[in-house]
């Protein structure tokens, strides 16, 4: 079992791991960055290593960019297709919220080829999104819109025979922006557990990543197609610098938060893989090759961020502020180079800095790690099966609470502000939201991610029970504590619990959202409120037609292309 394997890997590094009281703090989770083991990168490395081939097989799109496209991937013996239906909608109908009813692109990743009845089903149901009905041949459902600011600009530039002006594009970094990737049994689609053990998508979020990669490709193809339609004689395609720069935009709301609170073993695996890698790198000696590699990544990060903007990204740092942090990291690295364990020394310097600097250093250092991707995939694939043993005694429950949830004492959970919010699912496309308890009574409609409150109340409910009493007796007396008791049993991994109360007045969803987005491989975090943000995925990544060296892993933190004038001067 992978849990046993992960536990063994952690145990072997026990004294060198960062403790959960550091890494599971909201501020640290809210500073996370993509790493070598983020899902976008592991997916592309797998594709390169196993020689997956991808191609556009259909592009029935008119001059305005309306129509149907199909992309195909052969992943070993498995053929997968991404089908997309494109249109345009009025700018006023664009929304980043998941609750929109119309989109300019709707798509699905499916098993096999979309032909015959299956093609007709997809054509009918995919544009309906959540209102549609699917079957196990459909693996991921997605949708999104064109970038209002840049799509037409990019088309016009290429149609006029020009490459885009970097100053116009700023750090937008995407052509299309998605708003959802549904999978795992929703609306009748394939369940994650339904992938056979040897299936190329039987790794968490691999199907969504593959789908997102092709969604991004569609953006490039749409722009170049519309540019050709605009002026066939003058139009050019993106040149080599621009042809990989753009990623896929994504707007992310509160839907991520319930997932993280409901799946402690999944969260643990995501954090643990990063922490294993960091522990290994910190113990490395500073060979010339390693020192050079980290130095290159620091320079690369600087080039990436220094061209960014100074937009208000609070509570996160904006690109200009991150660039300044990279300069401090560069200086610190210079002073650590001659230490016996220079990477450990750099980390120790970073942990005395702000969380954003700490986690940026973690991300840069992990570029040195070279674990077998098969092992990483296995470590990330966890069983969530758990059931409460009714024979567990109150004494054992008290011990587990002390061992796993001592941090609850830091949260002031008896204060009324600790339960100001409750989490709810809206009737519009089932979007998770939060609302105030003093404004609307939950009436049994709350999404039970009030883990901290429930465990705190369970702890209090044990008062008066003898240590030898089975927990089942307590639950017979207090059935409302069943979920807490079940959670106590399931929370058996050190990195499984975000140390926060999702119902507190002070709760900031952005922190947990950023952690998850970084785990997916997203970057360019632009908060738009306390509850949602925009990000970019696959910026700088290889394209579908890439092969050989073009498929290498050396693509993150892309540098914004230079203007035509700058290129001319450098020649």
């Amino acid at each position: 079992m992978s849990e046993d394997l992960l536990a063994a890997e952690l145990s072997a590094r026990q004294t060198r791991l960062r403790p959960p009281q550091v890494v599971m703090q909201p501020a640290m989770m809210g500073a996370a960055r993509l790493t070598r083991y983020s899902f976008s990168r592991t997916m592309l490395r797998r594709a390169a290593r196993e020689g997956w081939t991808a191609r556009r097989v259909r592009f029935d799109i008119d001059d305005r960019g309306h129509g149907e496209a199909v992309y195909q991937v052969d992943a070993g013996d498995c053929r997968l297709s991404f089908v997309a239906y494109t249109t345009t909608i009025d700018e006023t109908e664009h929304t980043d919220r998941v609750i929109a009813e119309r989109w300019e692109v709707t798509g699905a990743l499916v098993s096999g080829e979309p032909t015959g009845d299956f093609a007709r089903l997809l054509r009918r149901e995919v544009p309906r999104q959540e209102a549609g009905r699917f079957d196990a041949r459909v693996l991921v459902l997605t949708r999104g819109n064109r970038s209002v600011r840049f799509f037409d600009y990019l088309v016009d530039s290429l149609a006029a025979g020009r490459q885009p002006d970097p100053a116009q594009v700023a750090d937008a970094g995407y052509i299309l922006r998605s708003t959802a990737f549904y999978a795992n049994g929703k609306y009748g689609m394939r369940s994650f557990e339904g992938y056979p053990s040897d299936h190329p998508l039987r790794v968490p979020y691999r199907a969504q990543m593959l789908c997102a990669w092709m969604f991004r490709e569609l953006g490039y193809d749409l722009v170049e197609h519309c540019a050709r339609a605009g002026d066939p004689s003058a139009a050019v395609t993106f040149d080599v610098e621009w042809s990989r720069y753009f990623g896929l935009g994504n707007a992310t709301g509160l839907g991520l938060v319930p997932f993280a609170f409901k799946h402690p073993r999944v969260l643990h695996a995501w954090v643990a893989v990063r922490e294993l890698a960091l522990a290994d790198v910190r113990s490395l000696r500073g060979t010339p090759d390693r020192l050079a590699l980290v130095g290159e990544w620091i320079e690369r990060a600087h080039l990436h961020f220094v061209n960014g903007t100074d937009d208000d990204c609070r509570p996160f740092l904006n690109a200009v502020e991150v660039a300044a942090a990279v300069e401090r990291i560069r200086d610190a690295f210079e002073s650590c180079r001659n230490e016996s364990l220079p990477f450990d020394a750099l980390y120790r310097w970073a942990e005395r800095c702000d969380p954003e600097t700490t986690e940026l250093v973690v991300s840069l250092l992990i570029e040195l790690h070279d674990a077998d991707d098969d092992l990483i995939d296995e470590l990330l694939t966890v069983s969530q099966h758990s059931s409460l043993d009714p024979a567990l005694t109150v004494g054992q429950v008290r011990a587990l609470l002390s061992e796993r949830f001592a941090w609850l004492h830091e949260l002031d959970l008896d204060d009324t502000s600790a339960q100001m919010w409750w989490w709810v699912i809206s009737d519009n496309t089932e979007e998770p939201r939060r609302t105030r308890r003093d404004q609307l009574d939950p009436s049994h409609r709350d999404v039970p991610i009030d883990v901290a409150l429930r465990l705190w109340r369970l702890s209090a409910a044990l008062d008066g029970y003898d240590d030898t009493t089975p927990i089942q007796r307590v639950l017979d007396d207090h059935p409302s504590h069943r979920l807490a008791a079940e959670r106590l049993g399931a929370s058996d991994r050190i990195y499984g619990e975000p140390r926060d109360n999702a119902c507190s007045e002070r709760y900031l969803p952005l922190m947990l959202q950023r952690f998850q987005l970084a785990a997916y491989g997203m970057d360019n975090f632009k908060p738009k409120s306390t509850d949602w943000l925009r990000v970019t995925l696959f910026g700088g990544a290889p394209r579908l037609a890439s092969e050989g060296n073009e498929m290498d892993d050396n693509w993150v933190l892309p540098v914004r292309p230079r203007s035509g004038a700058d290129r001319g001067r450098s020649q």
């Binding site: 609750i99 009905r133 079957d135 196990a136 795992n184 049994g185 929703k186 609306y187 009748g188 689609m189 394939r190 369940s191 994650f192 557990e193 339904g194 992938y195 056979p196 059931s387 043993d389 009714p390 024979a391 709810v424 699912i425 809206s426 009737d427 519009n428 089932e430 979007e431 939201r433 609302t435 105030r436 404004q439 609307l440 009436s443 049994h444 409609r445 709350d446 039970p448 089975p470 089942q472 639950l475 017979d476 059935p479 409302s480 504590h481 069943r482 979920l483 807490a484 008791a485 079940e486």
Partner: protein, 191 residues
């Protein structure tokens, strides 16, 4: 023949959870009911129907859907102490209300008789005998459970359309109107 719809196991789980919640069950109770119904639908069929019928005829929080699993847990404790134990249900309970609970006891080394492995989930059970066994993982029943479960997750489960629609309707009250939430957010005293 009634028409069927192929659904993913999580759809049954999510809908049963929501329907149980708005019927008045606490989250832990609702979660256990959802687990039992999903397991029973996968391995026995007829669980969605049994659950919907119960929703329409009983007060769920005080029904056997809540109390029978607790009675089984208490009997399991006794079996682990003494080697055997029994529990009777009066009136008899649908297998759908206890199927996963029985399986969990088996995984902890307590086997049961009284509920036929091949029975439909809407079959009622009047008594369960429990006994300690040595190696629960080695049972032929476990291999069958693993196989059936894998198939359900790979291909989905065929459920009668009419009952699935009733389940969806029962679960719909769990959702709060978007307009209500927007209106609350727009109030001047709400941040």
């Amino acid at each position: 023949m009634s028409t069927s719809v192929t659904v993913a196991p999580r759809e049954i789980h999510d809908l049963v959870y929501r329907a149980s919640s708005v019927a008045g069950c606490d989250a832990g109770m609702a979660e256990r009911i959802a687990h039992n119904v999903t397991f029973a639908e996968i391995h026995h069929s007829g669980a969605v129907r049994a659950f919907c019928e119960a929703l329409e005829t009983t007060a769920l929080p005080t029904s056997a859907w809540v109390t029978a699993p607790d009675a089984l847990a208490a009997a399991e404790l006794a079996a682990r102490d003494r080697g055997t134990a029994s529990v009777t249900f009066e009136p008899p309970v649908p297998l759908a209300a206890i199927a996963a609970t029985l399986q969990q006891s088996l995984e902890r080394g307590v086997a049961s008789t009284g509920a036929d492995a091949d029975a439909r989930a809407d079959t009622t059970v009047s008594a369960i005998e429990l006994r300690l066994i040595d190696d629960p993982a080695a049972s032929a029943r476990q291999a069958q459970i693993d196989h059936t479960r894998a198939n359900a997750y790979r291909h989905g489960i065929a459920v009668e359309q009419a009952w699935f629609s009733r389940l969806e309707a029962a679960a719909a009250d769990y959702l709060v109107a978007e307009s209500t939430l927007d209106e609350i957010d727009s109030r001047p005293n709400v941040a």
